[in-house]
């Protein structure tokens, strides 16, 4: 699976305005809705599910990245987006460090294999120091899209 198969370019938020976790989740989910990737009237429900998921265990897996995700009945097609925060956001991360890059992933309820494949490609890239560094430095949507395309071309 490739990043471009589920990351919605138009929904990428290069400068998140939110300063806390819940507001950041809402900002990214709203951005996905505005890009047509999920119904606008489902945003609140999805945000609540994302917050609940975080409360059960932070998806801030360390190294300045978080991958909030949820499987939800209102999602008919897998969709993801990326948000950047220059100031950093407290995600109660495993390493207690602020999060600068958020990969939000929304999956349909009935496709666990596709969800795992998407998580695989997200984490395979996030594990690379250079990918994380470039992503943190990419201040525009275009720069982020370029970085994702490069990542997809690497085996």
């Amino acid at each position: 699976m490739k990043l471009k198969e589920f990351i919605i370019s138009e929904a990428i938020v290069p400068q998140i305005t939110a300063t806390d976790r819940n507001a950041a989740l809402r900002e990214l989910a709203t951005s996905l809705a505005n890009a047509g990737a999920l119904p606008v009237d489902a945003v609140e429900e999805i945000v609540e599910a994302l917050i609940k998921r975080e409360q059960n265990g932070s998806t801030g897996f360390g190294k300045g990245v978080a991958v909030p995700h949820v499987k939800h009945a209102k999602i008919t097609r897998i969709a993801g987006t990326i948000g950047r925060s220059a100031a950093g956001i407290d995600f109660a991360a495993l390493d207690h460090q602020p999060v600068f890059t958020i990969f939000l992933l929304l999956s349909p309820e009935n496709q666990p294999q596709q969800h795992l494949q998407a998580m695989n490609i997200v984490f395979s890239n996030l594990q690379k120091d250079i990918f994380r560094r470039f992503l943190r430095q990419s201040a525009t949507r275009e720069a982020i899209v370029d970085l994702l395309e490069e990542a997809d071309q690497r085996p």
Binding site: T59, G62, V67, L94, H115, L116, Q117, Q127
Partner: protein, 93 residues
């Protein structure tokens, strides 16, 4: 250095998603042994059993065979406890 290993099959329907991956890592961290989880097949991968990111990269779906390896003085008990998580389907269906 004592080593131990066990072959298991992922049996919960959602596979090794983030929550069970974290549960596995939490348990692995209770032991001094180095823990490795190996996947063969089309996307072979060796994950550090104490890294959540690497455990998620395994993308182990229901039915995937995995090998749990431990190396250290508590390898035997570590493998037993870690395999038990899979046997218990991480508390899922």
């Amino acid at each position: 250095m004592p080593t131990a290993s066990r072959d298991i099959i992922v049996s919960n329907s959602l596979g090794l998603h983030a929550r069970p991956a974290m549960q596995f890592v939490d348990t692995a961290n209770q032991f001094r042994s180095k823990v490795t989880v190996c996947k063969e097949g089309e996307q072979p991968y060796q994950a550090d059993g104490k890294s959540v990111m690497q455990m998620i990269i395994l993308a182990a779906t229901e039915g995937t065979p995995l090998k749990i390896l431990a190396e250290g003085d508590d390898a035997e008990i570590a493998v037993k406890k870690l395999a038990q998580l899979f046997d218990d389907k991480f508390g899922e269906e």
